[in-house]
């Protein structure tokens, strides 16, 4: 690099650039938080959804599945499992694990009560109604 561009100039550009773009990021964050209630389906967060989210987390579902495309890629996307499979199928599926079919991927049995599973399903329903800009491309997730 040319000698006219000194190290102290480079340092100042670093500070200026870093601060400017972080402030821009904060501004965008501020705007996002403002418009989020129109998109994030938060009006449908009930105590059941809240408990369902906790069950989702404390059983580490994200360790195999994706939720809105984020998580592990070992098992199906669950952000849209509610419209894909419906509540009855989901409930029977969770209760029926593990399948024990030799050589197939196995989901553990989490020993959840019926009420727990209903809350988990409420959480998945809430998640499926978030405005995700039409993602995923189709129902298969």
């Amino acid at each position: 690099m040319s000698a006219t561009f000194t190290k102290s100039m480079a340092r100042n550009v670093f500070y200026g650039g870093g601060v400017f773009f972080f402030l821009l990021f904060l501004a965008l964050t501020f705007d996002t938080m403002k418009v989020l209630p129109k998109r994030d389906n938060s009006q449908n967060i009930t105590p059941a959804v809240e408990h369902g989210k906790k069950l989702w987390e404390t059983n580490n579902c994200i360790g195999c599945h994706t939720l809105l495309g984020e998580g592990a890629y070992f098992a199906p996307e669950l952000g849209n499992v509610y419209p894909r499979r419906g509540p009855d199928f989901i409930k029977a599926w969770i209760k029926g694990q593990p399948t024990g079919v030799p050589g197939r991927r196995q989901m553990p049995q989490f020993n959840l009560s019926d009420a727990d599973i209903d809350d988990l399903i409420a959480f998945l329903k809430y998640a499926s109604e978030i405005n995700t800009n039409k993602w995923p491309p189709n129902i298969e997730g």
């Binding site: 404390t58 809105l68 998580g71 996307e77 593990p98 553990p108 995923p136 298969e140």
Partner: protein, 458 residues
């Protein structure tokens, strides 16, 4: 070694390598579970293996960063470390906390672990990469603060260089952004939004400052190029990192409930994210070409150049591959993401830590460089691991492309599990490449025990 306190880096490096081996073993277990689904079930379900795999990665990289900074900061500051005792105490606390956490994952059902460790007081667990129980998370904060304190106190009492300044800023950012791991709102969109403030702003933000500082330090040492030149490059590179990477966070905000304008911000800025990595490659090769001395540690030079190339490929090119919103619409959450994740973490962060270890470890063992024989073995391990990881990324990319086609683009989309059956050949190939990686890693560990005539200091 110029300052005796630099030696505290040694246990950090040894722990890093041991945990790295653990990470790879669990990676191989998961790789096999992709094709032999019931392997080790129910003893080690996939989700448990994955937690161990990713958490060990984070912890060994942190050990590496800490060891590296305890080594390089005294030398940069031209003074002894502020408190070697604190550094050693922090080492043991971090190692024991890490080991207990991993044992907890392996031995206790996750839900029970959550209950026993106070997750009811503050829900923080069960989110990808942030699975640690509350006490472990608090421990990570304390360890990071102790590290930051020790380093900053050392810098303050000695010479202040651009490298130590950038490294300290990176560490400060690491500590600050980790605090968002304690914020877990019920609102899933907000949860995901701020989760990325830890994950993205770490690996595509402040960690890159640490990476840049470590690479610059090693390049000064092995090439003898003027510090002014190298530090100017460092500033320019990390400027581009922050300019592109901060707003680049937007590439995670396309489909999680956040406003659609992020598709523009995210696409434009993250498309520029390869630039700092490309500059890093040009920088490293330029400095080595302009070298004013022949450092006897050829292996360290190879690791340094390898870091710059593989970081560009993994983080830069493979990141760009799926970062534009119209592409990401189809690629989001597929094996393509996994391909990028593997190559980027290996290329940027695993390699820079191994670069630093390669340079510093012989010096801490009382020589400028290892024997010819040991270095040749070390360089073999570089090529085996690097080529194996490149093939892992290629196979996962193949898997991802076919997955996207069958599941998301074709006229008759197949279900997730049906697609997984179709792409199992890629997973078998990936597992094979993983075994080669393990052989490379064992060779690497073996190279520390090779005797022979080592190179004395000039």
């Amino acid at each position: 070694m110029k300052y005796t306190s630099q030696a505290v880096a040694k246990p950090y490096f040894i722990a890093a390598i041991a945990l790295f081996l653990g990470q790879i073993l669990f990676g191989l277990i998961m790789g096999l579970q992709y094709v032999v689904g019931d392997f080790l079930f129910p003893a080690i379900p996939f989700n448990v293996a994955r937690m161990v795999h990713t958490n060990l990665l984070i912890v060994w990289l942190l050990f590496g960063f800490m060891g590296a900074s305890y080594y390089l900061i005294p030398e940069e500051s031209e003074t002894e470390l502020y408190s070697p005792k604190l550094a050693i105490l922090t080492f043991w606390i971090f190692l024991v906390a890490g080991a207990v956490t991993v044992l907890g994952y392996l031995l206790v059902p996750y839900a029970s672990l959550a209950k026993w460790t106070g997750n009811d007081l503050l829900n923080t667990m069960g989110r990808e990469f942030l699975e640690q129980p509350l006490p472990t998370k608090v421990g990570i904060v304390l360890v990071a603060l102790s590290w930051l304190f020790n380093i900053v106190m050392t810098v303050l009492k000695g010479r202040k260089t651009a490298i130590s300044l950038v490294l300290s800023l990176g560490m400060l950012g690491l500590a600050v952004f980790f605090l968002f791991s304690f914020y877990n709102p019920v609102n899933l969109v907000k949860d995901k939004f701020y989760w990325w403030w830890v994950v993205h702003l770490w690996v595509e933000g402040v960690w890159e400052l640490i990476l840049g500082a470590m690479l610059a330090f090693v390049l000064i040492k092995v090439t003898g190029v003027d510090r002014e030149v190298i530090e100017k490059w460092l500033y320019v590179i990390i400027t581009m990192t922050l300019v592109t990477g901060i707003i680049g966070t937007g590439h995670h905000y396309y489909w999680i409930g956040t406003p659609a304008y992020w598709q523009w911000w995210g696409s434009i800025f993250s498309a520029l994210e390869p630039i700092p990595f490309f500059m890093m490659t040009v920088f490293a090769f330029n400095m080595v070409n302009k070298r004013r001395r022949e450092h006897p540690n050829k292996a360290a030079v190879l690791w340094a150049l390898g870091t710059s190339v593989m970081a560009f490929l993994g983080a830069g090119l493979w990141g760009f591959l799926h970062t534009l919103a119209p592409v990401n619409y189809y690629a989001h959450g597929t094996q393509l993401t996994a391909a990028h994740g593997h190559l980027a973490f290996y290329g940027a962060y695993a390699l820079v830590v191994l670069t630093m270890i390669s340079y510093a470890m012989p010096i801490m063992r009382g020589r400028a460089a290892n024997s010819e024989k040991a270095q040749i073995m070390e360089m073999w391990s570089f090529w085996l691991m690097t080529i194996a990881m490149f093939f892992i990324a290629l196979f996962l990319t193949g898997a991802g492309i076919v997955q996207i086609w069958l599941q998301r683009i074709s006229n008759a989309p197949m279900s997730f599990m049906a697609v997984q059956d179709q792409i199992s050949i890629f997973y078998w190939a990936r597992e094979g490449a993983g075994l080669v990686f393990l052989i490379g890693l064992l060779l690497y560990i073996g190279s520390f025990f090779v005797k022979g005539e080592s190179k004395a200091f000039e």
